[in-house]
Symmetry: C2
Subunit: 411 residues, 2 copies
């Protein structure tokens, strides 16, 4: 037993937490509802709520088309802010479209720079949508998509690999790749690297420039708290941007969109990766959450995130391991993002019981992962302790057996 | 002089208008501000304002990820509603991504069905972004994009044409193509047709099924009043859907998105054209406006739209023609959508003076078009009369000469 009284320990840890004040910057609702799915959809920042009301009521409602004067700069302004979180230059990040569409644009653009290489390399812990995307690009360009095990990535990078495309923080386990080492190895072999940062941006410090990363994408609705389906970002390093062609040509990526010429001429720099008119409500929702992270500082957030995931792992060891719950995430916090996956043969049922009986909101990922997302901006130590104890109650009482194991047929 | 007192005539027409009550379903703001740019960005419906506040404050704010249960069905539910406006089946329309990205997906998919044809045919009055898109697809697939004059379209459809891609209602002039005739001619030659309905959906009755249209796209922020940059829709007819492959593979177009298998398997029907996670705030904003149009009825709206654009043309003749203003839209209302373009050598300056001095909001399109968008759901006859008289004042007083002719260098 590491902690004699987990709740009391948690309360003390919360009291001493220098970031505790940030919780009040979010809409919380029912304080007994323990939300541990910020790695899927982040909470609503209070300032975002206000910004959206103003945008709807006054900008759209009363200024209508005139408000485009301000809206038009959003993809670049947000890009410059996110650049600070990923270690890129202000003009190396752009917000537009979805993660998948951005992945398509960058992958297709990158493949034209490696015309004689026939392999796109990815790993089995990549987010499936990314793998589908690569398979589509492979089909369209006549290339093979090789899916290797995470531990084999370095060995599988050969002279035939055009692109190495990986998710930096694995969605099921929270496992982190060594970005620098993979990028270096890819470059030694002449391959380009494309990182998906969806689960790492806002949860772990990143330095794309320092690591020499070529390309990256990421979503904004997880740790950045940008709202449901908020647009994604893309990154392309200086030196590479001018060599890349966006396959999806549209007026927002044209040199002079309002000149209305009938010949496409690509905009300079990263702007060329814009295509159509961006969804402004969903895009404007991103800024408040990013501002809060910049204010708190990524190093302080990471420090708290590690203390919180370690606290969770300790409590798992004290209370859940004996009940047959496994730790599906790395034990070393340096190899782990900000979510922790706990495994159980009845994981889907337990997840349902936690949500429906216990007011605890994790999520389930096939085949046996219950993901607890820790978002240090608003997650408290008390919530973590409560969640573990409530999960223990669900398993001990076997109340989860009331729920169908819907996912059992999925392999 | 057709009308002795335009303002008095307008007031009488407004009083007799059976759709007049719909204006109160929109946020109006300053009643002296004459907004005639609903063909660029529609006004905010009151019910959309409420829906968005609820979505932000309660669904995202308090239910967070649990609200996805409702959000997930939006692309299809909205698609089924828009299908009623375009004359398609409920499962023939889907809301997702931007118009440009949807155009890309459908064009690339269609081209694979016509592998031995080398021409993509479009016209010089197409929206430039659509032309860019086609040029990108042409480059990627080694095909030629032929841009012909609008009146030559029928003659230019040959056995070498893979796709005819046109905007049904031209953005500069409001000119309408004969959808049935072009579609028939394309089919005679074995080509597929893809219509962009951005300026016609919600402004003119459409019947894609009856006209045998293969493919269509359109935006939702103009006459549908879906808000800035709201996601677009795409249409593919029954019988064609199963033959088409979306080039941008993503989890929302996968057969079983939450099965997380690592092999892409396309969803059945139109669902395959989804890619990434949709931007929910911008997507949910679409429903209120579409509901209002369905309630008013497209035939009634078209009837009012014609009466209003005819009123505008009559007033132009009475007050503006003598001042050197040209009518750049068709005179026959059957060949015209719901916006009217007036031309003048100093159009850009006049547009600026109208906005800055006269509280009239049209828009400018190069080289010499001032577009007056009529949205029968909320535009009044009084606004049309006032706008014409205010424009007359701007030209007579030459107050527009105070503004730089910024667009003069654009050809």
């Amino acid at each position: 037993m590491k902690f004699r009284d987990p709740i009391q320990t948690a309360i003390e840890l919360d009291r001493a937490d220098p970031l505790a004040g940030f919780r009040s910057a979010f809409v919380i609702g029912n304080p007994d509802r323990i939300y541990l799915d910020g790695n899927s959809l982040g909470r609503l920042p209070v300032q975002t709520r206000q910004r959206l009301h103003d945008l709807i009521d006054f900008e759209w409602g009363e200024h209508q088309v005139e408000a485009w004067k301000d809206w038009i700069g959003l993809p670049n302004r947000l890009g410059a802010k996110i650049a600070k979180l990923v270690g890129g230059g202000a003009d190396e990040v752009l917000v537009c479209d979805s993660t998948s569409v951005n992945l398509y644009k960058l992958t297709m653009a990158a493949l034209t720079l490696r015309p004689n290489r026939n392999t796109i390399l990815t790993s089995s812990d990549n987010f499936p949508s990314d793998v589908y995307l690569l398979q589509g690009c492979g089909k369209e360009t006549g290339r093979k998509v090789q899916i290797c095990e995470p531990e084999d990535v370095l060995a599988q990078i050969t002279e035939d690999v055009a692109i190495v495309s990986l998710t930096h923080c694995a969605f099921k386990t929270g496992r982190l790749y060594d970005m620098q080492r993979v990028t270096e190895r890819a470059h030694e072999c002449g391959a380009l690297v494309l990182w998906d940062l969806s689960h790492s941006v806002g949860s772990v410090p990143l330095d794309l420039n320092k690591n020499g990363v070529d390309l990256a994408v990421g979503c904004t609705y997880k740790y950045l708290n940008g709202g449901p389906g908020s647009p994604a970002f893309l990154y392309a390093r200086h030196g590479l941007q001018e060599k890349l062609t966006n396959p999806i040509w549209g007026w927002f990526g044209q040199k002079n969109p309002f000149g209305f010429s009938l010949e496409y001429e690509s905009a300079a720099g990263l702007q060329r990766f814009m295509t159509g008119t961006p969804p402004i409500l969903s895009m404007a929702a991103i800024e408040g959450g990013v501002d809060l992270i910049l204010e708190a500082g990524m190093d302080a957030l990471r420090e708290k995130s590690i203390r919180q995931t370690e606290f969770l792992v300790d409590l798992w060891q004290d209370h859940l391991e004996v009940l047959g719950v496994t730790l599906n995430s790395p034990t070393d916090p340096a190899s782990r993002g900000s979510h922790v996956s706990l495994g159980h043969p009845h994981a889907y049922q337990i997840d349902q019981a936690l949500i429906k009986e216990m007011n605890v909101i994790p999520d389930f990922r096939t085949p046996d992962n219950i993901r607890f997302g820790v978002t240090p901006l608003y997650t408290t130590f008390w919530e973590i302790a409560e969640a573990v104890l409530r999960m223990r109650r669900v398993i001990e009482s076997r109340s989860y057996t009331a729920y169908a194991n819907e996912f059992s047929s999925v392999t």
